[in-house]
Symmetry: C2
Subunit: 603 residues, 2 copies
């Protein structure tokens, strides 16, 4: 099978994306995750979409009988997109039958004028476009367009592109002069549709949506206009703010518009806001969003471990955004945040069997929360365990589409050569080179690239060197020469466990440290601790170098008092030395109810 | 005028309440606040109730035209209660005309069968009692009953008691066998109605409501059954949990039931839960509720300053609960939390002019939030400034009824004498004694009690000694003798400013200290700091004794980095010594947008 392009194909930029057919993940953490995703997760999601009635909505003649939230159509679209990438990727599982069924369902629900949403405009339903704050109509249109782009680029779902174009044309007519959606998403989708079809009007509409935002023209919201990025014009922001997923989807769309329209001011504005967000509003895991109430970024340095929202969808969106900036600018550093997010949020989000999921990603679980029931959707984001489905199930299908297209985020090419941004066992074909990458990363720092085939001209092979690999013994990551079949390039990344300390302005982390190993954030989980040792009574000794599996510390015995505020500094009585076993954060909560901490108080 | 009883009149207990006529606040902080409340605040609230249509709902014939949230009736009831206490208190302002109008409005909206709620059961409205999670029907009934109790005990609103009894009788019939309200409130109200009328059925119904709770019989909620205290039976809880106001109202009702039915097991269960809540789930200010999302308590030691919800209503409820436990047990220590809550939450909640209000009480304002518009209701809890009204305006009318009846919470009596739990300039008549209390508390620790009149038998005069006054030089607070007119008793409470340190298990406060002076929590507000000194760059030196108006510290200059987590401990570069001016927390946010911290990082 052949797939010529992936999800993001800018018409210009410093680096070029590779198509799904150019990167075959052959094993390791991500090869396994992608394989499970292509079978178990996609089947699981498809089954729940039917069970919840969200596919059935497309053929339900009685509008009042529609089931699910106002954005449930988008889940069908995201899973369609996932199935397209999965069907097309080398070694992927074909989902032709279901793709044909979904395409027919979707096409059948389209109104004569092109409008397509199962929750509005039919008898017994609210009118179209009356609730731009929360209606999610353009959001859903965006996901349909992205699915159609995948369908077109992979050939996996014939007919969907026409449906999407009619939707896009209807959106263009309805929003020719004003208005935009409370939940960004259609912006990036319309640019990609422009890239597929060459129709300038889709790009113009996306640019207009980006431009109109930030003037408080949406109805006032209880969380303020900032919640849906209508408080400040897109290019004037200091850092991403408001609802994290909305902010990041909008930023991705703004980069797309900037690249296609040559609007460097806009591109630099988003790059600057992303930098500031990374410097001040991002968890150690790479997760974003520190408030449960409105699923939003907090102010600078507001990063409480125990209320980390760090929604899975925000992590997916961070990959989307970083990849776009990487392509546009060629700055390899954008791979660092992708690496971090993949290994510490995306890898954490999915159970080993691919059938239960975290929606939010706390960095501090205080009580061993009961696991969600295995056959029941969660009404909210869930607690201490992964759930099979959620009333709002955005994250599941979002991860599915990311994992199915994952290889396209690992590698880029240029006229001159190939850039390896992420490390996994894989076969890469790009810039005339065929490469086999062999590595146990992140369990090992050794990355070996074997040249299988090469042109007679010189090529540059670039491996990203993560920021944590910088220093005196940093390896070299750029190799330029005429490569010969059979020759190898090897990079050794330093995987020594390291203590990590927070910026002193992060109030929530004062007096704490964490352990990292390569891209992995480590944590202490109660199930691994000595009997009777509680995680909220531990202090670790950062004067002793950490090991990958444990650190040294002591157990305190806090005295219970009638009032927890005292006129003297409350010191530890009779601390016992203890060894604190650690494990990678993404492995936590896989062995039953437990407590967990990433950041540990220091002695 | 004469008012014989206040809001809480148990038929048994170690201490007896005084009636509103027995305590006249004559000046000081609370005398001023009560005076402003009785005029400006009550007028302000009444005006907004009309403007928002919440009074109009009682005469609106078209059910579909009803305005406001499902609980807006309760605001009319709470203000009615406030006006009754205000009209009856010594020196209070009469509100007879409005009370008559409100009584007529309320009585006129009652259905033939006794049901009374403007949001349900009429054409165009949902059916009665269909949404026990959120309908707030019994919650509103409870507030109506409390207003009627005030009306009866003060004589200020004739006719209201009959309306309330018919409501209560309807509730008794509708909920004879099962069911209860998602928002507790009717429990404590029904017990007080029993106390007024002697009708056993009201007490039985309240006891049944308390008993039924905790078995997950309300419909599942996205925040879990714990949100509305239906996860664990009332007497089995460890600490208060879920929505803070609901939990505290329920606890007050449970104490009332326990006292009247002689259920000591229930009384001790609530006392134990309150103790644990004070030890682990209460802010330094006495505020309760650490989560914005569900307005709930967090787990033990989850007390983030910047997301303190600490709702004003929770503080009112804490006063209600502590007072009930004080009367039942005679333990003077319950006055400590009332003192703390009054001076640090209630005093903070209301602007000096009595016309704008905090709903939530952050202990750390990170950005100088714009003030709410002066003539517009807040859609949510608000930010850095007090707002004139809220879409959910529970707190305003709740404070109004508390302040109007405040004297009844300050003093109790017994056969043997008088107990002064709170210190304010006031005239007290109890246990045959007439006392003039003179004090500038909390600005001074001197409390002088002058005996105006006294019986020829010995009496015991007891002044509460706060826990912070304990120690080597603690004064004596109990005086027993035959008092003579003109003689004085004086207590000197130590008002030396003191450093306060948190329990090490409060992650959010690690490495921080606060300053307290008597019952006052102090804070640093940006407006008082030296130019260029930012509150998030300060460290204070706890080796130097604090002064009431300032502490010593240093200004750090954190270095901005691309990524806020580093492999070395990030230390302060070039710290400058600074003096950090302080002010009482309840005085903050009265001079325009600012940032503020209660807890300050230490050097």
């Amino acid at each position: 099978m052949t797939a010529y392009w992936g999800p993001v194909v800018p018409s210009r930029g410093v680096l070029r994306p590779v198509g799904p057919h150019q990167v075959r993940l052959t094993g390791g953490l991500w090869g396994r995750r992608q394989a499970v995703n292509g079978t178990a997760t996609i089947e699981h999601c498809a089954s729940w979409l039917d069970r919840m009635g969200w596919t059935g909505n497309f053929t339900e003649p009685n509008g009042a009988m529609r089931r699910g939230r106002e954005f449930s159509d988008s889940e069908v679209y995201k899973l369609t997109e996932a199935m397209c990438w999965e069907t097309a990727r080398p070694g992927g599982n074909r989902h032709d039958e279901r793709l044909a069924r979904f395409t027919a369902l979707i096409a059948g629900a389209q109104d004569a004028d092109g409008y397509l949403h199962t929750a509005y405009g039919r008898p017994g339903q609210p009118a179209r476009y009356r609730d731009m704050n929360f209606g999610h109509e353009l959001y859903c249109a965006g996901h349909l367009i992205q699915a159609a782009v995948a369908a077109e680029r992979t050939g996996a779902a014939p007919g969907l592109l026409q449906v999407a174009c009619r939707v896009a044309d209807h959106v263009g007519e309805a929003f020719a002069d004003e208005g935009f959606c409370g939940h960004p998403e259609v912006e990036t989708a319309l640019v990609e549709l422009y890239r597929v079809t060459g129709q300038q009007r889709y790009l113009d509409q996306a640019a207009a949506f980006v431009q109109r935002r930030g003037y408080k023209t949406l109805p006032e919201h209880e969380f303020g206009w900032g919640y849906f990025q209508d408080a400040v014009p897109v290019r004037d922001g200091e850092a991403f703010a408001g609802h994290a997923v909305r902010a990041l989807y909008l930023a991705a769309g703004a980069v797309d518009v900037a690249v296609e329209t040559g609007d460097d001011d806009l591109l630099h504005a988003i790059a600057r806001q992303f930098d500031r967000t990374l410097a001040r509003r991002t968890y150690l895991t790479g997760g974003m969003g520190s408030r449960h109430l409105d699923e939003s970024f907090g102010e600078d340095f507001v990063l409480p471990s125990d209320r980390a929202y760090s929604e899975t969808c925000a992590a997916v969106a961070t990959v989307h955004l970083a990849h776009r900036l990487l392509l546009a600018t060629g700055e390899m550093r954008y791979g660092d945040i992708v690496d971090r997010v993949l290994h510490n949020v995306i890898a954490t989000a999915v159970a080993d069997d691919g059938q239960s999921f975290f929606y939010a990603h706390t960095l501090h679980q205080r009580i061993p929360a009961p696991l969600p029931p295995p056959d029941h959707e969660q009404l909210r984001f869930g607690g201490g365990g992964r759930a099979p489905w959620f009333e709002v199930s955005c994250c599941l299908n979002n991860v599915a589409r990311l994992l199915a297209s994952l290889g396209t985020y690992f590698v880029t090419e240029s006229d001159d050569g190939v850039q390896l941004h992420q490390f996994a066992p894989m076969r890469v074909e790009a810039a005339g080179l065929t490469l086999d990458v062999d590595t146990a990363y992140p369990d090992s720092g050794t990355v070996t690239v074997t040249v299988v085939d090469a042109p007679p001209e010189p090529r540059t092979l670039t491996l990203r060197l993560p920021a944590w690999a910088a220093g005196a013994d940093a390896p070299e990551g750029v190799f330029r020469r005429v490569f010969r079949p059979g020759e190898q390039v090897r990079v050794e990344l330093p995987m020594r466990p390291r203590w990590t300390f927070p910026d002193p302005r992060i109030d929530a982390l004062r007096g704490c440290a964490a352990v990292e190993v390569g891209p992995l954030v480590m944590c202490a989980e109660s199930i691994d601790q000595e009997a009777d040792v509680r995680l909220d009574e531990l202090q670790v000794d950062t004067s002793v170098a950490p090991e990958a599996t444990a650190v040294k510390g002591r157990r305190t015995r806090p005295t219970d008092r009638e009032w927890p505020y005292q006129s003297h500094r409350i010191t530890t009585e009779r601390p016992d030395p203890v060894v604190v076993p650690l494990l990678p954060y993404h492995r936590w909560a896989r062995r039953g109810p437990s407590t967990m901490r990433v950041w540990l108080p220091t002695t």
